[in-house]
Amino acid sequence: MKRWLIAAVIAVLAAPWALLAWQRHLPDATPPSTAPVDLKRGAYLAAIGNCAGCHTARGGERLAGGRAIPTPFGTVFSPNLTPDATGLGGWSADDFWRALHLGQSRDGRLLVPAHPVTNTTLVTREDADALHAWLQAQPPVSAPHREHQLRGLYGSQLAIAAWRALYFRPGAYQPDPAHDSGWNRGAYLSQGLAHCSACHAGRDALGGDRGAADFRGGLLAGIGWVAPSLLDPLEAGVQRWSADAVKRLLRDGHGAHGPMAEVVLGSTAALDDADLAAMTAYLRALPEQAVARPEGAEPSPRRRERGASLYRDHCAACHGANGEGRPDASGAPAYPALAGSRTVAQASAANLIRLIERGGFAPATPGHPRPYGMPPFAGVLAADDLAALASHLREGFGHHAGEVDTVEVLRLRAAASAR
């Protein structure tokens, strides 16, 4: 009996050590790539991966890190990727491969899961080596790493090891023989380097997802935007869109706003024709799966009437009296139709309210260089007016998306200002 007790105590004490040892010593025998160094290829891959998006502070030196990334567990600061002693200076291709494939720094420490290791593990060794060569060829910038500000033990190596034990397995993209090479290329890019699921996954309370092809969508806690589901055609699924429409979104940024505008600018606008077609084919072929639609606020005719009147005063001039939108000279939407708009009628009202409050432009891309924009209404509409207007939009124009009450607006506003 006594021996059993001692064994149990040892097991409990050893478990954390074993967990950490396991995660820090994941086996990997991937040989380095034999392909010749191709800096152009590396630059292209870095663009698709939008490395600079997270690894550049606003107004800071490109790739020198320091961007604050709000998460539900605190704020993390991206590290410096330039070949300086404070960054990736002296990192070998093997070191870099381990960071992408196993989520480990050169010293063996586990990277925080804000680094989308679930996705980067799928990047091939050849692509990782091309990225490494290109990064090492960038101008070095001295930018010491800023410590993450994670609450409690969230930032500890043990917590990260536990998270990884639950949600991460190193892997390689396995082509699906049921699909053609274009689809497979699109899947490799979308699940891997382009890390769509970093935002579009449906995350649980621990920030875990169901893998690199989890596109169920969810609230990006910390920045107050919803990344809608790519599986539901009523959210952001493009299964029923033409291939051209998907390309206009990914390449030219038509209809992209907030974080997706950033993704278009930093990543998808750079896709070459073949990869754009591949990603488009993959996204259009995703299985359809409806998201749960929560009950809206208690219906209130008075609130909707107020909303209709606000719509006439503030919105109709651009979006049309019946929400039909207005085209630009080329026939593309200058001001999008709100009748039938998914942003208006998707399950969460977060993005709609965010856009009304803070306005926005589609990204200025080579294919759409001078987008029309929407002014912020934060100083014009109080929270109850916003709720009224959003309710009118979500229940008018043939929508039945549920009303929004003032509390919901205030809650979303708090989520958005937490950044």
Partner: protein, 259 residues
């Protein structure tokens, strides 16, 4: 759109869209009715076929800005969102970059323009710079005359003993700014001017390095800032309100925004 009765003036929305209503209201009423009827028929017919494209102009694109900065960028009535119309294009462009890249800190502004390119921001800056519009009346100062005289002396002569340059050395003899990148100081509210000098002191507003305005704002006392902004906001615009073509004399300090 044109057919709806205009909203009562008291409920006029802050955001004023050029739906044509403004022009119509300024016309003699008979002509207005005739034109409105004609246009209504036209737009009605066009609407049934296909929606009317929005004008392919910068003014139309700038509506995202004038929601806060007032009709045509003349400044919002609250005085907090400053006038854009007629400021030097280089100044406006620099501010857009400063907001986008984090040297100035105002979330709404930074988020709004985050996805826009340098080229497009330059075009928008050029649009507002090209507008030649009347200015609002000055804000009567509430300070006593001696304090205002002291403020005016600071504005016109600076204080060499404290290495404080005169405002007019860069902002122009007429205080209407200098091309290409120094803004005018007139036609702005006290609150706005105080806000900016305060932001420079706290580091919330920065300019291209070396940031001379930061040094100046930090060297001024609270009382001096108050007096100077009282004086500036109280000045009417001169007959020629445009920015000077260039600095009249060599710049008194090294400054990132000066050529």
């Amino acid at each position: 759109m044109l057919g709806g009765s205009p909203p009562p003036e008291t409920l006029k929305p802050l955001i004023d869209y050029p739906t044509g209503g403004g022009t119509l209201r300024a016309m003699p009423s008979l002509l207005r009715t005739a034109l409105a009827t004609g246009l209504l028929t036209l737009t009605g017919a066009a609407h049934a076929a296909e929606p009317v494209p929005v004008p392919d102009t910068l003014a139309q694109r700038a509506l995202a800005c004038t929601g806060c900065h007032g009709k045509e960028g003349r400044a919002a009535p609250d005085g907090y969102y400053p006038r854009l119309a007629g400021k030097p294009a280089g100044y406006l462009y620099n501010q857009l970059l400063n907001f986008r890249d984090g040297r100035r800190d105002y979330g709404l502004m930074s988020e709004l323009i985050a996805p826009l390119s340098d080229a497009y921001l330059k075009e928008l800056a050029g649009h507002f710079a090209s507008l030649d519009l009347p200015y609002p009346p000055p804000q009567p100062p509430t300070l006593a005359a001696p304090e205002l005289a002291r403020a005016e002396a600071l504005v016109r002569n600076g204080e060499p003993a404290r290495k404080l340059p005169a405002c007019i050395a860069c902002h122009g003899e007429r205080l209407t700014g200098s091309q290409p990148a120094v803004p005018g100081l007139l036609g702005l509210s006290r609150d706005y001017l105080n806000g900016q000098l305060g932001a420079w002191r706290s580091g919330q507003r920065r300019a291209q390095a070396p940031d001379c305005m930061e040094k100046i704002a930090r060297a001024l006392t609270d009382a001096e800032i108050n007096a100077v902004t009282q004086f500036l906001a109280g000045q009417p615009l001169p007959a020629d309100p445009h920015p000077a073509a260039a600095l009249a004399t060599p710049a008194p300090m090294r400054c990132g925004v000066l050529p």
